[in-house]
Structures are given as structure tokens and as C-alpha cells.
Amino acid sequence: MRFSALLKKELRESLPWMLLAAIILLAIGGFLLRVQAYYGLSSRSYSSLLAGNEVDSYQLIRYSPLKFTGPWLLVTSIGLGLALGVRHFWITLFTKTWAFLIHRSVSRQTILGAKLAAATLALVVSLGAVWIGLYSYAGRLELFTVPPPAGFFIEGWLFIVLGLVVYLGTALTALSTARWYTTKIFGLAFATVVVCMIFLQWRISWAFAVVIIGIVILLSQIIETFLNREF
């Protein structure tokens, strides 16, 4: 009951940002798909690409109808992660409501848990649902002649998880009491490094491994900082 009250509160605070991110991705992604369907790779041109040629996965992604939507998903996910981090941690600091939030009959772990759960849900629900929607929309526009590799779909989810990395980085920076030019920037800097490292990986499994390691490191730092922080 207490956790659900906290979760509801955090989700309600996240709602405007969730909607904004979902609308941006849906509008831009949908528009790009329609443009592609009109000018670009329709099923016919995709077929001509395939005719008599051996197609490797690079070509498949390069010519994929979702190749323009993918970067937008990444940008929206990072943006949403940043916005949620600011909403959940910075705004609470600026409005000085930490003391009111913390002094209640729940542990600090529960309060932090509700924030993290709300951010995860917000990213999965708003961006995940739109990503699935765009994927099926591309199929309906007959942009696919062959089923795209599963990796392509999963890559979208990797981008969504990256949003969580940025959220955790923002949270850690917000919670840090150090100065900006010292360790306070660590959270955001580390999240940026994780995002950059993703593009250096050749395999999606490696990319996921990097993200998971990043999340574990950031999470352990946040828990330690939050439980011992003065408010």
C-alpha cells in the first residue's frame, strides 16, 4: 500500500514527460515511415536489392525501413531518461520536498525503489509501446519484404534501456553533494560513456552486457548515496 502510493506519485510526476516522449516518437517515427514508404524502400525496391545478391546484415540494417526511426528512439529515450532524472531528483531538491518525502513510515530503500520502478515503467510503457507500434506500422505499410532480423527489434529495446542508464546518471549527479567540477559530474559522465561504448560494440549481446554493467555500477552508487545522504 505504501509502495504503491509512492509509485503512483512518481508515475503521476512522470506522466507529462512520458506523454511528451511518446508523442514525439510517434509523430516523428510515423512521419519518417510514411516518407520512406512514399520515396524510399518499399517492398519492391527492397526486392530489387535482394534479387540475385547475397545480403548481409549490415545491408539489411542500412536499407531497413526503420533505420531513420531508430536514432529518434535513441534520442527520445535519452531525453526521457534525463527528464525523469531531473523530475524525480533535481526538482525534489529545488522544491525542498525531500524532508517531507523521507520523513514517513517507509524506509529510504522503498522511496528509492518507487522512483526507480516508476522510471523503468515510464520508459517501457511510453517508448516500448510506441516502438512496438512503429514496428508493426512499418509492416503494415509493406516496408518489409523479409522479416528484419530480431536483433534490429532488440536494438530498439537496447536504446530504451539506455534511457534508464541516463536516468540513473542524472539521479546520481543530482544526489551527489560534491562540487560540479569534482565528482558530482560522475553520474552523467559515466552514463555518457556507456552510451558511447554501445556504438563501439559489434555484437548486440556485448552492447547489452555494457548496459547491464553500467546499470549495476550506477545503481550501487545511487543506493549508497541515497541511503547516506543528508536532506
Binding site: K96, H103, R104
Partner: protein
Amino acid sequence: MTETVLETEGLKKYYGSTLALDHLNLQIPQGCICGFVGRNGAGKTTAIKLMLGLLRPTAGSSRLLGCDSQQLKPAIRQRIGYVTEGHRLFRWMSINELEKFQRAFFPKQWDDKFFADMIEYFGLPRKRKIKHLSNGERAQVSLALALAPNPELLIMDDPTLGLDTAIRRQFLEGMIELIMREGRTVLFSSHILGDVERVSDRIVVIDKGVLRANCSLEEFRAAIKKVVLSFADSTPAEVDIDGLLHCRSSEKELELILVGTADEQIAEWAKSNRAQKHQIAQMNLEDQFIEYTAPPNHRRLFRWEEK
């Protein structure tokens, strides 16, 4: 024997190199209404936050309801009401939403009727969002939220700051509601000595992080005296009387602020210094507080404090 609900022992807090609180030793017995007074920056908020485990002490410890402040379990926090400085609430919530949110943390204790009565008494619109409420209305919501779970101990950090006289009075009356409930303890910090005088039975004075007084209001009121002495020729060159805090002299008049000096001692001193007449002037609590915390001569209120 009266139980101590709040206790600090050598509580000290540094912010960087600034000493905010120095060696605070405090005991607040159960069932009292304690006014926690001090000037701006005296360390009141720091002390309250340390007591609630929101800050970590540099040294010393504090206990609330028998539990170490740094290890306050949710079950203990449930028994402590807290009104934050500036009445910081979630601005996007309406009063109804805030009530629903707060009630979830006190499933067995929450008194719906009491909350509704208080909101009605203050005349607050339940559907209005916190961000659209005035400072005074936010204070009233804050008080209602803190009182509805019927806490054993209520800690309020400058709850009447920035409120006008009428709202302040309403707020204090709301506070008296809690005081009427048996065995409840209230600690509230304030700049407004009139409020402290109206509702408190105990006073804690803190100055520049140092505890200066912790006694009943009556004792405090009786201890600080202003004496005006008139002389025929000129005032004495040196004033040496027990408990002297401040001394101001004009040509033929001497004004002394004394702490803990008996009336007989004053009369004797006046006689020995050939004063034409002496008069113990009336002081209100505010004047007493200002004199007591005014620099430069910091003296302890009671001799036992110096031991």
C-alpha cells in the same frame, strides 16, 4: 516518572568549516509543549533535522522515542509528526490527493474526521492544488496533515514563519487541538516569541549553535530582569552584581539586565551604591529573549548550567 521523548547528547554539526551546532545536550519530557527559539542561523533547523535523522551529526547522538535518530525505523517515524520549514508540500497535488497520499502511510492511525474538521475549520478548498494556495493556507494543510495521524511527538520547524496574525492564531489554535490530547509532546521552533508564550510550557533557547536555556517558561520569565536605578550625582564607575548580562548607563541613570538575580540582592546592591531609587521594569518574553541573546556578554541562565 516522566518519560523523556527527545534527548540529545553532545550533538555537534559542522557544515564544512562552519560550526552550526555545538554540543547540544537536551531532554524534552513527555507531554510538554516546547518552544525552540533562537535568532536566524542559530541552529534550530539543523538541530531538528539531526533529531529526525535527516542530517548526520559530526559528533554526539540523539534519541527520539527511545530510538537512535540515525536508525529511526518506519514504525517509529509513524509516531512522529513533522512540519517542515516553509511548508514544502508536493505542489502539483490537490488537498484531496495529498490527504490520500499521506493516509496510505498511516493506515490504522489516520483520523479522517479530524482532517476533514481541520480543513473545514480553516476553510480550505479541498480540490485546490497546493501550488494555488497561499503561504498561510499551505501552513494549515501542513498542520492538518501532521496532526491527522495523531502523532505522539510533533516537531515543527518554524511553522508560523511568514503567516499573518490571524492565520497564525488559527494555526496555534489548531496546534492546541493536539495539545489537548493527553500525553502528546510538541517541539516547535519559532522566531515569534508571542506564539511561544501563548502555547508553550517549556522554552529552549539556542544561540549561535549553543544551548543557552532549557527550562520552564515560568522560570525563564522570572529569571531575566531589567532594573532601572537612579542616582543623585553620577552612576557608579563599575557595576559588579551577580548575574549581570548588560549594563547601559546615562548621566544619572543605570539600566541593568540581570539573569537569575534575586530581588533582595538587587535591593542590597542599590542601597550599597547609594541609588536614589530602583525599579524592576516589566519585560515581555521578546525583550527578555533579545536581551538574553544579545552580544557580547554571554552568560548562562542558571548556575547549574555553568557547572
